[in-house]
């Protein structure tokens, strides 16, 4: 367990999440992809903290990331609900009127 290995795992999680964000059609699934990216970020931040700078401010960063994850998720549910109610759509492809 070194910094490099931790970061490698984090990178893998981030990339898997990115794949999901790019490839999923359903809004909620895209959100899951984003969550997974944040998951990788948490791991990376924890790794950095432990191996490079075990400073209390690094812990605050982790809390901020978790907060961001939570509030983004909450907003995501709200937006998805709203989209579903107004447009009867739950996929990003079904909401592509605005273009050009």
């Amino acid at each position: 367990m070194t910094l490099q290995t931790v970061l490698l795992v984090a990178a893998a999680l981030f990339s898997v999440g990115l794949y999901g964000a790019l490839s999923q059609q359903v809004v909620v699934m895209v959100m899951m992809g984003l969550e997974l990216m944040l998951n990788g970020l948490i791991l990376a931040a924890a790794g950095f903290w432990w191996f490079l700078a075990p400073d209390p401010s690094g812990q605050v960063l982790l809390l901020v990331i978790i907060v961001a994850m939570t509030v983004e998720m909450a907003m995501g549910f709200a937006v998805a609900t709203h989209l579903h109610r107004v447009r009867r759509a739950d996929m990003t492809d079904m909401a592509a009127d605005l273009s050009g």
Binding site: L34, A44, A53, S57, E72, L98
Partner: protein
């Protein structure tokens, strides 16, 4: 160093005002929500007054050096609050007595708070949470109009915001990891020893993240959609006010970076891409709001130019602030015209406007020519000084690109002005009955006049922006 929470009085006022609007709104009947509007106005004016008082004092830092209370923050506070004030006037027409009126004000005040926090952030973590605070209310605001386009715009804005929020956090994580600190003061010292590749990656992440708030390349995709899909009030707000905080945040951030990172080139590329893409894409639009949306993308490009010169030219910061001020009033004037004529969703509908509504047409003329950068509007002074700053900072080519893009932009603005000033002809009779909304029309005229006045009185403005 200390807490000195009183230095954040304007921010507190804004946030508490938002809470007050929210709670107060629960108790007023639908027709009397204008009370909340008055409350919001009072809050904004109070915040501006508090900011003005602090502006007179020396530069300080609050909360253990994580928040800068200096001229820049002061100017940003006033600009942001004033911009929101102008936006409220549009709201007086559009959403008065609608069911969500007080919530709208609350969200506007929250977003305003977030924007100010962004502008004053002197710490990566404050920057990150400021980003969240400035973004999240916007998703709600965009979705407020219960239309299909509004919902789509909210969804796209949200997803773009989430992705770029992650990029921002990634950058923050890396920087904090390699330095063990998040405050700018410490970062400036420690980043010189940090591995350059990591710093480069983090720089891209943070700048790109802030580009979402500013609405520039590569995170510009939501801007035209939101400008078109959202209501007039919200469209005006989100294309104007958050940019102020975001650009100042970018400015503060790049000053931290060591010279081993060629951040200036990165910002320059984003600037050129934004202005060029925004201008070209605006070219074919027929919806005035969408056209303005693209135009704001290009304006972000122009606004990034002084950031390129940050640290290399004394002109960089004052020119950025002056340009922001000019851009704010001018852009609000243009949006206010569209808000005053909500039925006119095609450029052609503006035909013969000069004859029917000379004042509104004059406001449109001043606003659009101002956005082009025609003297003596404030944007001209901004464009001039930013280009000068870029040249002064050894980015002469960027200055040339600025002016080439200015010519490009002239095309589509003229496409809007020309029909407005054309003589009346057949086919315009139908739209003649539409009378502009009063508050929006007044706002348009006032903002246009301010744009002119700010250009003429650029000296005092400049002095204000450049005081240390």
């Amino acid at each position: 160093m200390g807490m000195r929470p009183l230095l954040l009085l304007p921010e507190m006022l804004l946030f508490v005002g938002g809470l007050g609007a929210l709670i107060g709104g629960s108790f007023v009947p639908r027709q009397r929500q204008w009370l909340i509007r008055v409350l919001t106005v009072v809050v904004l004016v109070a915040a501006m007054a508090a900011a003005a008082v602090q502006l007179a004092g020396p530069a300080q830092r609050a909360f253990e050096g994580t928040y800068a209370v200096d001229t820049t923050t002061g100017v940003a506070r006033i600009l942001v609050a004033f911009g929101t004030l102008l936006v409220l006037a549009l709201a007086a027409d559009e959403i008065a007595a609608s069911a969500r009126e007080s919530e709208t004000y609350a969200l506007l005040l929250f977003a305003t708070t977030g924007t100010v926090v962004l502008a004053g952030a002197d710490d990566l973590l404050v920057l990150a949470v400021g980003f969240l605070l400035a973004s999240i209310p916007l998703y709600g605001l965009i979705g407020l109009v219960n239309t299909a386009n509004g919902a789509e715009a909210a969804m796209k804005t949200y997803l773009m915001g989430a992705l770029f929020g992650i990029l921002l956090l990634l950058g923050v994580t890396i920087l904090s990891g390699v330095t063990g600190t998040t405050t700018y003061g410490d970062l400036t010292d420690r980043l010189t020893q940090a591995p350059a590749v990591a710093v480069a990656a983090a720089t891209v992440g943070i700048v790109a993240g802030l580009m979402f708030k500013a609405g520039g390349v590569p995170a510009h995709f939501w801007v035209p959609d939101a400008a078109q899909g959202a209501g007039g009030t919200v469209a005006t707000f989100l294309t104007t006010v958050p940019k102020i905080g975001a650009l100042i945040a970018v400015y503060r951030f790049v000053l931290v970076l060591p010279h081993t990172t060629s951040w200036a080139l990165l910002v320059a590329i984003f600037a050129v891409a934004s202005m060029t893409l925004g201008n070209l894409a605006a070219y074919w639009q027929t919806d005035p709001r969408r056209l303005l949306g693209w135009s704001t993308v290009s304006q972000v490009g122009f606004l990034l130019v002084p950031v390129v010169a940050a640290g290399r030219s004394d002109l960089a910061l004052p020119s950025l602030l002056v340009y922001l001020a000019g851009y704010m009033v001018t852009n609000i004037a243009a949006f206010a015209v569209t808000a005053a004529l909500p039925e006119h969703r095609e450029l052609t509908a503006y035909g013969g406007l000069a004859r029917r509504r000379p004042w509104l047409a004059a406001a449109l003329l001043v606003a659009l020519l101002g956005l082009v950068g025609t003297p003596p509007t404030a944007v001209f002074v901004g464009k001039l000084t930013t280009a000068t700053a870029a040249w002064d900072g050894d980015y002469a080519w960027l200055a040339v690109v600025v002016f080439v893009n200015t010519v490009l932009s002239l095309f589509y603005y003229l496409r809007w002005i020309v029909p407005a000033y054309r003589h009346a002809d057949a086919g315009m009779v139908a739209t003649e009955q539409v009378s502009p909304l009063r508050w929006s029309a007044r706002t348009a005229v006032v903002a246009a006049a301010l744009s002119l006045a700010a250009g003429l009185a650029a000296g005092p403005l400049w002095q204000l922006a450049s005081q240390q």
